[in-house]
Subunit: 371 residues, 2 copies
C-alpha cells in the first residue's frame, strides 16, 4: 500500500490500523496456508478495502471471499480476479449481477437449498451461462447451510441441475465444537476439517467431482489446515485481529492491528469517564459477557487495564475507571474493539499508520454494501 | 419531500419509510409542542436526512438538534438555520468548526464541565467570537452532564468565562424514573421536567439569565411539556418510531414508519428461516431481553407474530418460526427494528414510499458522521 504525506485525522473518533502489524498478520496466514499446501481465500468483510485485498492476494491468497454481490463488484472493480460469494443468492437481481461479474473475474457462488439452486439455475439458463457453485453445509452454527446429514442428497440434486457446475463444498462454523461455542480451537478446527473431508468423500462416491473442501475461520484455520483433504481456508478477522480473537487464543492483544482512537469528553463523577464514541463507533454485536468468552466491556482500553467500556449509547461510551482515576477531559484513548469486522463497517474510512509515522486515509469502499 | 418516478429498490435488504406515517408523526409532535407553548427542536439523529429535517422545521420546529459538528455541517449545508449541538465539544478542531458554522446558522453547543467550557472559551476568544452554550445536566442517565447537585456551581463558573453566553440548560434522560428504566412515561416526564425547572430557577437566583430549559425524549416529551417552565423538547425517534418505543407505550406498532425489508435465503431446518440481513442491517445496541422492555428478538416480523428474529451474525438473521411454518426461500419479510436510529445509521439510503405507490431513494447524508 502506498503511503502518503504525513497527516493526522481531523478529530476523534476514528479507526487506526497499524500497517506493520497488518502486514505481519497477512504474511503469517499466507505462510501457514502455503506450508500446509492449502489455498487461502480470505474473507474481506473484515477490512472491506480493495487495496488490502490486493495485499492479501500479493502475499499468496488464491482469491477472496465476500458475502454480497455488491462487495464482489467493488473488489472486481479494483482488479481482484477470483471471488467466492459465500452466500446463497436467491433473488433474480443478485444472480444476474453475479453472472455479469463473470465477464471480469472468476466467480463462485454459494447454494444451500434445492429451491435456491433452482433459482440460480433458471437465471443462468436464461442468460446462457454456466455458474460455478459450492454447496454450503451447516456443521453446527445453525444459520445457512444444508444440514450435514442432508448434504449428500442435496449435492446430487444440485449437480443434476442445468447451468450449474458444483465444484466444492464449504462451511463456516467458527469456534464451535460439538454444537457449542468453545475455547478448544484445536478440537474445533480438527472436527470441522474431518466432518467436511468425510462429507466430500461421500459426495465423490456419488460420482460428483467435488474439488474444493473449503472451511476455516480465523480461530480454527491453523488447526483445520492439518486435516488431509481440506483444500482451502477462508479466515477474515486475522488481517486485523480483535479482542474476541485474543480472548479465544487465536492471537495476542499485541497482534491486534486495529484500534479506535477516542477522546474523553466528560468526567462527570469520580469513577466515570465518557468518550466521544458509542454504538455508532464500536460494534455492539459482540456484547460483554456470554460463555465462553466472558468479555468485560465493549473493548480493551489500551494502557488502562482497570478501565471498562461498560455502556454505549449512540454517541457516548461510558468507561468505568474502577479506581484507576487519572483521565482528564481532552485525553485521548486507544481501544481494541471486541469485534473488528462490524466495527469497521460503521466507519467510512480507516487510517493506516506506517512505521515512519505516515498516516494514510483509506476509504472503506465496500462498507455498508447490503445487496 | 418531492416524489420521483415509480421505482423500486434493486434488492433486499433495505429500509423502507412509509411517508404518510412519517408526516403524521411529524405533525402530531409539532402540534403537541405548539399546543403546550413549548418549542420543538427534534434530534435528527434518527433520520440523518436533510429533507426530513426541513419537513420538521416546516411543520413548526424552531430548529434541530444534532450530536456532532459534522452532522451540523450537513444540515447547515441543506439550509437549516438554527442548530443545537447537544454534546460537549472539547477538541480544538471541533470547536473551530462550530465557530465557522456560525457564519451560516444560529448555533448552540453543549458544555458539561469547567475544563470543557474553558476549552470552548479559549478557542472562541482566539477566534473573537461569542458562542452560545447550554449546560448539560445529568438527571439520572449517568453519561455526560454535570451531576444535578453540582449544576448551579458549574453554571456560575461557566457564566464567568469570557466569550461564552450561557443561555440554557438541557438534559437527556429518556424513560428513566428515580434512576432506573421505567415504563411509567408520565412519571418519568414529569420528574424530568420538575427537576430541570427547579434547577433553572436556582440558577436564575444567581443572576444568570438562563432562558431555555430543554429536555424531553420521544417517550417523555408529551408528559414533560405539561410542566410549567419547560421551554423546549428535543425528541428524535418519534419521526419514525420503532419497536422499543411501541413496547414503552410511546406509540403503537402501527405508528412505526420504518421497516427493514429482507428476503428469506435459506430454510435449512423446519423451524429456522434465515434472512439476508444481520447485524449490518439491524442495529444490535438494543438487545432482546433487558428490564423493563423484555423485547423478544431483534425486530417485529410484520404479519408473523410467532416468528422471532432470534440471532444475528453480520449478514444472516436467524428467525425461529416457533411452529408458524409457512415461509419459503425467496419470500420477502418486513421487520420493524428494535432501535431505528442506530439501524438507519447502518444504511446509505432510505426508500420513502408515498401513498400513490411512488418510491424515492433518499441518501442518509449525515450517516456515519463521527466527528
Amino acid at each position: 500500500m502506498s503511503s502518503s504525506a504525513k497527516w493526522v485525522p481531523e478529530d476523534t473518533p476514528y479507526v487506526v490500523i497499524d500497517s506493520a502489524k497488518m502486514e505481519r498478520n497477512i504474511v503469517k496466514m499466507a505462510n501457514l496456508a502455503k506450508g500446509s499446501g492449502v489455498a487461502l481465500r480470505p474473507h474481506v468483510k473484515t477490512h472491506k478495502v480493495p487495496a488490502i485485498a490486493r495485499n492479501q492476494v500479493e502475499a499468496g491468497a488464491v482469491g477472496i471471499t465476500v458475502a454480497k454481490v455488491s462487495e464482489a463488484e467493488v473488489m472486481a472493480n479494483a482488479g481482484i480476479r477470483d471471488i467466492f460469494i459465500a452466500y446463497p443468492l436467491v433473488t433474480e437481481e443478485k444472480i444476474q449481477r453475479a453472472i455479469a461479474l463473470r465477464q471480469r473475474t472468476r466467480l463462485i457462488i454459494g447454494v444451500d437449498s434445492l429451491e435456491g439452486a433452482r433459482r440460480v439455475s433458471a437465471v443462468a439458463g436464461r442468460e446462457e451461462h454456466i455458474l460455478e457453485v459450492r454447496l454450503e453445509v451447516d456443521t453446527g452454527l445453525r444459520r445457512t447451510g444444508v444440514p450435514y446429514e442432508k448434504a449428500v442428497e442435496l449435492a446430487r440434486d444440485v449437480d443434476s441441475l442445468d447451468n450449474l457446475e458444483l465444484t466444492g463444498i464449504y462451511t463456516y462454523r467458527g469456534a464451535v465444537l460439538d454444537g457449542s461455542p468453545t475455547l478448544d480451537l484445536k478440537g474445533a478446527g480438527l472436527q470441522e476439517g474431518e466432518l467436511m473431508v468425510s462429507l466430500a468423500d461421500r459426495i465423490r462416491e456419488q460420482g460428483i467431482g467435488v474439488q474444493d473442501v473449503s472451511l476455516g475461520s480465523t480461530p480454527t484455520a491453523r488447526h483445520a489446515v492439518g486435516v488431509t483433504g481440506v483444500t482451502e481456508i477462508r479466515p477474515g478477522t486475522y488481517v486485523f485481529y480483535d479482542r474476541m480473537q485474543a480472548r479465544m487464543g487465536a492471537c495476542s492483544l499485541g497482534d491486534c492491528a486495529a484500534e479506535v482512537v477516542a477522546t474523553v469528553v466528560s468526567r462527570p463523577i469520580g469513577d466515570l469517564a465518557v468518550i466521544d464514541g458509542g454504538s455508532k463507533t464500536f460494534a455492539t454485536d459482540v456484547q460483554p459477557g456470554g460463555e465462553p468468552l466472558n468479555l468485560v466491556g465493549f473493548g480493551e482500553v489500551v494502557g488502562h487495564p482497570e478501565a471498562v467500556l461498560e455502556r454505549l449509547t449512540e454517541e457516548h461510551g461510558m468507561i468505568s475507571l474502577r479506581g484507576g482515576n487519572d483521565l482528564r477531559v481532552g485525553d485521548t484513548l486507544r481501544i481494541i474493539p471486541n469485534h473488528v469486522c462490524s466495527t469497521v463497517n460503521l466507519h467510512d474510512a480507516l487510517f493506516l499508520t506506517g512505521e515512519d509515522g505516515t498516516v494514510e486515509e483509506v476509504p472503506v469502499a465496500a462498507r455498508g454494501k447490503v445487496w
